[in-house]
């Protein structure tokens, strides 16, 4: 059974249809990479899966449970997946450690000692053990994003959603975040992520999914989608990326 199963998803903002008849399956341990131009619906898809947006039609199933059902407790669903945003969204008034322990303590009812122990392990994993007491604005963008990933990981999610997590970073800081994601993938984490880093997509993706105008236009292994795309639009998109020097 797929860990995540999206079927016939539709989302519109007023007259503007962002996602239409969108279907995608993510198997346990799989890394699925969403590519596509800005506005193609990648972020909206991730936000729909995290129930940050209410879908207009279709189904999202997590472990066979329809999480888009209005009777489902969204907080309980969200506790089972982690999401990391492009702009980090760390809480500026809390230290790195408190950012990470907030949800374990308040949502998962862990004691402070227990939560901090796990948080420190997580900080070690992302290579920021020495920054536990720092405030977010004392960190570089790459470090902030690694804290945001640690903050999501500490809840032991079944699924990680990552929304262009390197887009707001300086080029020399992108590597440290992508390396971390590659490690996660190697550890067997299931991931659904959107990115403009095609070389990264080629390295870690099991499947690459090309979105155009809110629809899934092409889906396949990275060698096929990124090297020999079947669709003309995928080819055009990749050509623009090559011109921009990102492939």
């Amino acid at each position: 059974m797929s860990l995540l199963s999206i079927r016939n998803l539709r989302k519109a903002f007023g007259q503007h249809v962002v996602l239409e008849d969108f279907s995608l399956d993510v198997e346990p341990g799989e890394c699925v990479v969403l590519i596509g131009a800005s506005g193609s619906g990648k972020s909206t898809l991730l936000r729909c899966v995290n129930l940050l947006e209410t879908v207009d039609d279709g189904v999202v199933e997590l472990n066979g449970q329809d999480i888009t059902d209005p009777r489902v407790d969204a907080d309980q669903v969200r506790a089972r997946m982690g999401i990391v945003f492009q702009a980090f969204n760390l809480f500026p008034h809390l230290s790195v450690l408190d950012n990470i322990t907030l949800a374990p303590r308040k949502v998962h009812r862990q004691s402070r000692a227990e939560a901090e122990r796990t948080a420190r392990q997580m900080l070690e994993r992302v290579g920021l053990s020495d920054k536990a007491t720092a405030k977010p604005d004392e960190l570089s963008g790459g470090q902030q994003q690694r804290v945001a990933i640690a903050r999501a990981l500490v809840n032991s999610p079944q699924l990680m959603l990552l929304d262009e997590v390197t887009s707001a970073l300086d080029p020399e800081l992108v590597g440290e975040v992508l390396d971390l994601l590659a490690e996660l993938k190697a550890d067997g984490m299931t991931m659904l992520l959107s990115t403009h880093e095609m070389s990264f997509a080629r390295q870690v993706a099991d499947k690459v999914c090309f979105l155009h105008g809110g629809r899934l236009l092409e889906l396949g292994p990275p060698e096929q989608v990124l090297r020999e795309p079947a669709e003309e639009r995928t080819r055009q998109f990749l050509a623009r990326i090559v011109d921009a020097g990102r492939l």
């Binding site: 016939n8 519109a12 503007h16 239409e20 506005g39 105008g213 809110g214």
Partner: protein, 291 residues
């Protein structure tokens, strides 16, 4: 994007079921809200109305007879409050802004201005308004200065209100100015705007938008406190009219009339400001834009 396809889409049976479910939930929520509101407010009203002293209280504060008889004199007094409030509000805004800007000026040469502004706000924010009213209303005339000491009492009342509220408003505006991120100032200076232009065109517009709710709070408060000028005796404002009525009838309904009239002014003002702010998208900035 694919905007044209909206008309073609029909909700699937599953989505229709969800829509129906949400509608049922909405109706249920509405019913619960109505019921809890009725129970809570009904309970409070019932408790008051069934209390042993209610008939006496009603006669003293909520007498329809006295309501009608005091209404016109209190209403005509209210016009004075409105004028005092409007004039003071303008003066308070101007003086408060000057004080706030003075306090945020950088550079050693401005130290005296910063000290003056800080001392002024410390003093007038801390002094009870009643004391300032007495000092202005009875102190200035007692000085027997040509011109200044021979004004009507309402003038001194206005001066006292302006002095006190300028201090409050200056602090609110200063908080707003300091909340504008330094990068905004840098961006403006980098474009060649002078310090003054930066303040005028970049910092203040953002600062004032941010502090609209607390500013309004101060102006509503100013309007209420305009009733305090009644302590100076001669100006016949709404509160003074109510006081005169009470003195002759031993009935406090006239004060309730004044209170109701004040509410008629402040509640629409609050709603209006909220509406403007919402329409202009002034609230809720910050956070990252997402696609």
């Amino acid at each position: 994007m694919t905007s044209g396809s909206t008309s073609l889409w029909q909700p699937s049976p599953r989505q229709q079921e969800r829509i129906a479910y949400r509608r049922r939930r909405a109706i249920r929520s509405g019913a619960i809200a109505a019921l809890s509101t009725i129970v809570v407010f009904g309970g409070v009203v019932a408790a008051v109305l069934s209390s042993p002293g209610w008939p006496r209280t009603q006669q003293t504060f909520f007498s329809w007879y006295h309501f009608r008889h005091s209404f016109s004199s209190v209403l005509s007094g209210l016009w004075l409050n409105v004028r005092v409030m409007l004039i003071c509000a303008v003066l308070v805004l101007v003086i408060g802004l000057v004080l706030a800007v003075m306090r945020t000026l950088r550079g050693p040469i401005f130290l005296p201005l910063r000290i003056f502004s800080a001392a002024y706000t410390d003093l007038f924010r801390g002094l009870p308004l009643l004391l300032v009213l007495y000092l202005c209303g009875f102190g200035i005339p007692a000085l027997r200065l040509a011109g200044l000491s021979y004004q009507p009492a309402v003038f001194y009342g206005g001066v006292a209100l302006t002095l006190t509220y300028s201090a409050y408003v200056a602090e609110v505006l200063r908080a707003g100015i300091e909340s504008v991120h330094p990068s905004q100032r840098m961006a403006a200076r980098s474009l060649g705007l002078s310090a003054g232009q930066t303040l005028r065109f970049v910092v203040l517009p953002q600062a004032i938008r941010r502090v609209i709710p607390p500013l309004l709070n101060d102006f509503v408060s100013l309007q209420k406190d305009s009733g305090l000028i009644a302590v100076l005796g001669t100006p016949i404002d709404a509160i003074r009219s109510a006081q005169i009525y009470t003195a002759t009838t031993f009935n406090y309904t006239s004060y309730v009339v004044a209170g109701a009239l004040f509410l008629c002014l402040t509640i629409p003002l609050t709603r209006f400001t909220d509406w403007i702010a919402k329409r202009q998208g002034w609230y809720g900035t910050g956070g990252a834009a997402t696609v």
